[in-house]
Symmetry: C2
Subunit: 342 residues, 2 copies
C-alpha cells in the first residue's frame, strides 16, 4: 500500500518509519530540504528524531505532489497553525478516495476547530480520521511497544486503517468518538504545561498526581459537554496520553512549563525547546519545535466558556502564558481551591 | 484534639507528623522499640522515613493502651495481614465514640475483605472511614502539597475528619464511596507491579502509559461490579494513586516489579525492599517493608472471578508472582491481546 506522511517533524518521521517497517511504500513530505537530504543520504533525521535509524526504502521529498501521488492513505502531522492551508493543498493533490488521517494534537485558534473539522472544510468530501494516544515519537522510532487509537465517525474506516497500520509493536485500537479523541489529545498538553510548572517550582510527585487527576476531570468535562464520551477521555487518547505527557521528560509541553516554573519567560522557554532534543543539534533558521499546548490553552478556555464548563487549570495556564501571572501564584490558587467533595 | 496513629512504618509516621503539625496531640504507636527510642531521642524514624525531621511534641510508644487512651481520632496504618488482630485490640482500648480511619491499602487474604470491612467485624459498632490517595509518605513528611480522599458511608464523618486533618499542604476531599476508594487504592498496587516489570524488562514510557490506561479500566470494572462508582476510580484514590505508584521511583510495588523484570525471584525482590529506602539502613530483624500488591494480586483475581469481571493484568501478575511465569511472557501476552475497539 502506498502511504503518504506529511510533516517531517519528530512525529511525522516516526509514523513514516513505522509505516515503512510494516511494509508499505512510504513517502514522507518534509518542509526542510536539508532534512530531506539527510534522510536520503544517511537514513536519519537528526534535526527532529535523532537516534533513530530510518528504514531503507523510505522516500523523503519536499514536493507535496510527489508525496501525494497515488497515496492510498495520507497521514498529516503538521502543526495546527498550518493545517488548514496544508490540508487544502494536500486535498487537491491526493486521489479522491484516499482518507486523510490527522496526527496533529491541537485546536485551530480563531475557529476553535478540531483538526478533523479543519480537514472537513479544507478537504470537502474526503474521509477523515484521527490517530492519537500515548506515543513519544522517539520511542515509536525505537520500536518500543506503543498503543494508540484511530477514530473515525465511520468505524469501518477506523478498522481499515487499523488493518493497514497496526503491528506487533504499534497497537491500534479503534473508536468512533472522533471528538473525544481529538479534544482529549489536544487538552492534555495544557495540563502538561501545568505539570512542568510544578516540577520547575520544585513540587513533588504527590502534587503532580493530584494535578493529573484534576486535569483528567476537566478534560472529561469538556469532552462530555461537547458531545464526546467520558470513556474516551479515560482511554488511551485521554488518560494514557495525559500521563505520558505529564510525567515524561520527552514532552515539549512539560518542558515549556518547567522552564516557566524555573523563572524563564515564555519566549525563553519556547526558544530553548529548539535545542532541547536530547543529542539534537540547534534547529536551522525557520525550523521550529512546536509546543501545541500554548495555543491550545487559549482555545481550551474559549471552548470551556462557550460550553459553560469549569476548567480551572486551563484558566490558570492562560493567565500564566498570556497575562504574565507568576506561575507560583497560579499553582497556589489551584491547590487552595475550597475543600469539597470529590 | 488527641489523635492516635497506629503503625510506625513510613505512612503511619508521615501521617502522625502531619497531624502533629496541624496542632493535634498525637500519639504514634510503633511496634519496634528501637524506632520509638529514636523518635524520642532524635525526632527521626530513619528506619522507615529517613530524611524527615519529626515535629516536636509527637509522642511515640510501643504501648497500644497509651496510644489509644483518650484519642478522638484513630488512624490505622498497619499492613493488611495484621489488621484484623490489631483492629480488635485497638477497638478494645479506644473510647467508644472514636472513629477508626483506615490508612492501609490492601485486601485481606482468605476473607477477601476490604480494610473497613475487616474493621467493621473487628470493631463492631465503631464508625469507620478510609483515607487514601496519591501520597508518597516521604513527600508528606517533607510537606509537599498532597491531596487525598477521606471516605465514609456517613458523609458527616468524612467531613469532620476533613475539618480535623486538612491543611494547606494536605488537602482532603470527602467521599461516601468507601468501597470505590478502598478497592481503587488496593488494586493500583497490582498494576504498579506490572509497571515495574515493564521497566525492568527495558520497555519505555509509551508502553507504561498504555498499561496504566488498561490498568485503570480493569480497576474501574471491578469497582463498578462491586457496587462502587467509576468516578471514584477516576479520582484521587484511583487514577491519582495509580499514576503516582506506576511512575514514581518511591513505590515499593513498582520496585518489586522492576526486580522481577530484571530477573530476580520474588523472594529476592522482597528481601531487597528492606534496603531500598533511599539513605535508609538495613531493617532490623523482624521489621519489614511490605509490598501490599503481592497478596492483593491474589485477592484481586479472586474478586474478579467472583464478580465475573475481566482483569487480564491482575491474572498475568498472579501467574508471575505465584506460578513462576516468566515476566516477559506475561507482558507479551498482555500486549498482544487481540486488537479491538477501545
Amino acid at each position: 500500500m502506498r502511504v503518504a506522511v506529511f510533516g517531517g517533524g519528530s512525529w511525522g518521521t516516526a509514523l513514516a518509519a513505522h509505516a515503512r517497517r510494516v511494509g508499505h511504500d512510504v513517502r514522507l513530505w518534509v518542509r526542510e530540504s536539508e532534512v530531506v537530504d539527510e534522510i536520503r543520504s544517511r537514513g536519519e533525521n537528526t534535526l527532529f528524531l535523532p537516534g533513530v535509524r530510518l528504514p531503507d526504502g523510505l522516500t523523503a521529498t519536499t514536493d507535496l505532489g510527489e508525496a501525494a501521488s497515488g497515496a492510498e492513505v495520507a497521514v498529516v502531522a503538521i502543526p495546527s497553525a498550518y493545517r488548514r492551508t496544508a490540508d487544502r493543498q494536500i486535498h487537491a493533490l491526493l486521489p479522491e478516495r484516499t482518507p486523510l488521517v490527522s496526527a496533529t494534537k491541537g485546536i485551530e485558534l480563531g475557529s476553535l476547530q478540531r483538526m478533523t473539522e479543519v480537514a472537513a472544510q479544507a478537504a470537502p468530501g474526503r474521509r477523515v480520521a484521527v490517530l492519537s494516544g500515548p506515543s513519544f515519537a522517539l520511542e515509536v522510532g525505537l520500536r518500543q511497544p506503543t498503543a494508540v487509537v484511530v477514530a473515525a465517525s465511520a468505524i469501518e474506516l477506523a478498522s481499515s486503517l487499523q488493518r493497514a497500520l497496526a503491528s506487533r509493536e504499534f497497537r491500534i485500537y479503534t473508536s468512533d468518538d472522533v471528538l473525544g479523541v481529538e479534544l482529549s489529545g489536544a487538552l492534555k498538553n495544557v495540563i502538561a504545561i501545568a505539570a512542568g510548572i510544578l516540577d520547575g517550582l520544585g513540587y513533588g510527585r504527590n502534587t503532580e498526581a493530584a494535578l493529573i487527576t484534576r486535569g483528567l476531570a476537566e478534560i472529561s468535562r469538556l469532552v462530555v459537554a461537547a458531545g464526546g464520551r467520558a470513556e474516551t477521555a479515560a482511554g488511551l487518547a485521554g488518560l494514557g496520553d495525559l500521563v505520558l505527557t505529564c510525567t515524561g521528560a520527552l514532552s515539549r509541553n512539560r518542558r515549556i512549563g518547567r522552564a516557566l516554573g524555573a523563572g524563564q519567560t515564555l519566549a525563553q522557554a519556547e526558544a530553548a525547546l529548539d535545542t532541547a532534543v536530547e543529542g539534537g543539534p540547534h534547529l536551522a533558521a525557520g525550523a521550529k519545535m512546536v509546543a501545541e499546548g500554548v495555543p491550545t490553552t487559549l482555545a481550551a478556555c474559549e471552548l470551556a466558556e462557550r460550553a459553560g464548563v469549569e476548567m480551572p487549570i486551563a484558566l490558570q495556564m492562560r493567565a500564566v502564558l498570556y497575562e504574565g501571572k507568576p506561575p507560583r501564584e497560579a499553582l497556589n490558587e489551584l491547590m487552595l481551591r475550597s475543600l469539597k467533595r470529590e
